[in-house]
Amino acid sequence: MPFSAQPPASGERYALSASLDNARHLSSLLRAVHFQDHATCLATASGLRVTVEDAKCIQANAFIQAEIFQEFSVQEESVMFRISLSVLLDCLTIFGSSSLPGTSTALRMCYRGYGYPLMLFLEEGGVVTVCKINTQEPEELLDFDFCSTKVVNKIILQSEGLREAFAELDMTSEVLQITMSPDKPYFRLSTFGNAGSAHLDYPRDSDLIETFHCNQTQTNRYKISLLKPSTKALALSCKVSIRTDAQGFLSLQYMIRNEDGQICFVEYYCCPDEDITEAEL
């Protein structure tokens, strides 16, 4: 295939083509879900969704809506491919990952369709880099069947209140136990590690809590190693919504404001851990 350094005109024979003035708008969100090497990309008219999964228990999605891009066009109804997220991130940050104000990497992304590689054209300070990343057959993704009508408990709080807690989680504990209740302790995060147990309690009237809709007392345990990567998304976000359904499936939704003040979302879904025996409270 002839290789041209000139980016093609937008929309021409490309299943997906997009332009972004500041590649960081994309790379920072992708980092928030980068806990596995591979990701599945889904592009529709509304934007780009990048999904990462692990152990058939956890799924993270980064949503970059079409409005974030300067140009975003998808020829078919949807375009889906699997790609190495590590390589994609390395390419997006090829000019370095430090965020100096005033400098940014411009990105143009093109995908011809099934079987073709993803082409990236990155430019900073007059220097252009062209990347060609092979794509793979997309794998079937988990469907947590999590919709708002099935939500039992929901709390929205300011990320500031959770950031330190997640960064300092006792990783010698196998699980992170989450208790949500209309009664005390309202919202509690617990770990059971080598040093002993630790509980972090948030009262329902705390200034950090914006929304508190808990109908039922629920205590669920999740493998801490699976949830720990969500700390990255938490660090970027300003607000987080924590929801559980009747089976104890956990949904964490992070509201992230980028450098230009635009809002994007990252969400994590996690299955409760059934193997763990009754832990001390």
Binding site: G161, G196, A198, H199, D201, D205, S206, D207, L208
Partner: protein, 381 residues
Amino acid sequence: MKCVIAGGNVKVLGRAVHSLSRIGDELYLEPTESGLSFRAVNSSRSAFASFLFAPLFFQLYEPGSAGPDTELFRCKVHMKSFLGIFRSLPSLEKSVGKCLILLKPRASRLVLQLHCKYGVTKTHNLAFQECERLQAVFDTQCCASRLCAPARVLAEAIVHFPLTLAEVTLGTGPGGKISLRNYVEDEAEPSKTMLTELWLAEDEFQSVAVAPGSHITFCLKEFRGLLSFAEASNLPLTIHFDEPGRPVIFTLDDTVLEVHLVLATLSDAESSSQSPSTNSMSHLPAPSDDFADDLESYMAAMETSEGCSEGLPSPTFSLHVPRPAKSKPEKEEEEEEEGAVPGTPPHKKFRSLFFGSVMTPGRPGPATTQEVLAEDSDGES
């Protein structure tokens, strides 16, 4: 035992824990009528530190009640676990308003509860072990020399020595000057070693009362921990020392806090040939790796030496749970008998400090019994 620490004192407590974490792997907690004591000892028992927080340090202090047959409850916890709670000092300052410490002997849990801003509560339930009293035997009255300086002066002096430096020699020189130089082992190649020496004038110190020509060599690592605490708390540091081989005692005094750091020093037989002093210890036998031999020879020397006053503990002082040699290991000392001990690498040349017998109520006094040297007070097993 129940106590509450409020406001800025939470950070002071955190700093004390950081300081103690430079000494040993276990934190000993001992509530007494005169306050709550936090102590640590290193694996080779050549460093001991104690922080005594007076009742006034706390918003609430209930040491618990001692029955006629029982003493106030003591325990020890893993240093790492305790330190983890106070790991980030800036965030302690920023978000923690109150700290509650509750000792629940029956539940076997030490509860530490931090009340943070936004109404958030962090509760840690730590496992602990019962333990015997940890008390090094020392007496500042017994020391021939004493220096007192603002912590800043000493910190600025120590900064000239590389972080990897193990030992430093503090000495008194002509004109009342105080010297600090890095200690170089005799085996070291003169052409490959860097010597650093600095002199401090008498007026840098708040008080100087030293025996002329005296010097001591001690480990820098444990001292640095105390120094950073002293600097942060803006307290003057007093150094009590005597002849080489006898422990050096660093103290910090405050209305609500009393800190002691006791470090073993190199005895004269091993120290550099430049040292002029002679003392009653100079004819000690050369040290061997076997602790038991060291101990016996030290004790023999103690018996023959003149000692300094009735304040000096009798050489027949019972030793509190020494390294294994002959005695059976106590249950709570098991971890110290593991082969590779983390923390301060035991320096063979440093004598271990004497540790008081459990029999002793408080300050060192003459021992009542002579026969038992190595067994613990829990009784024969």
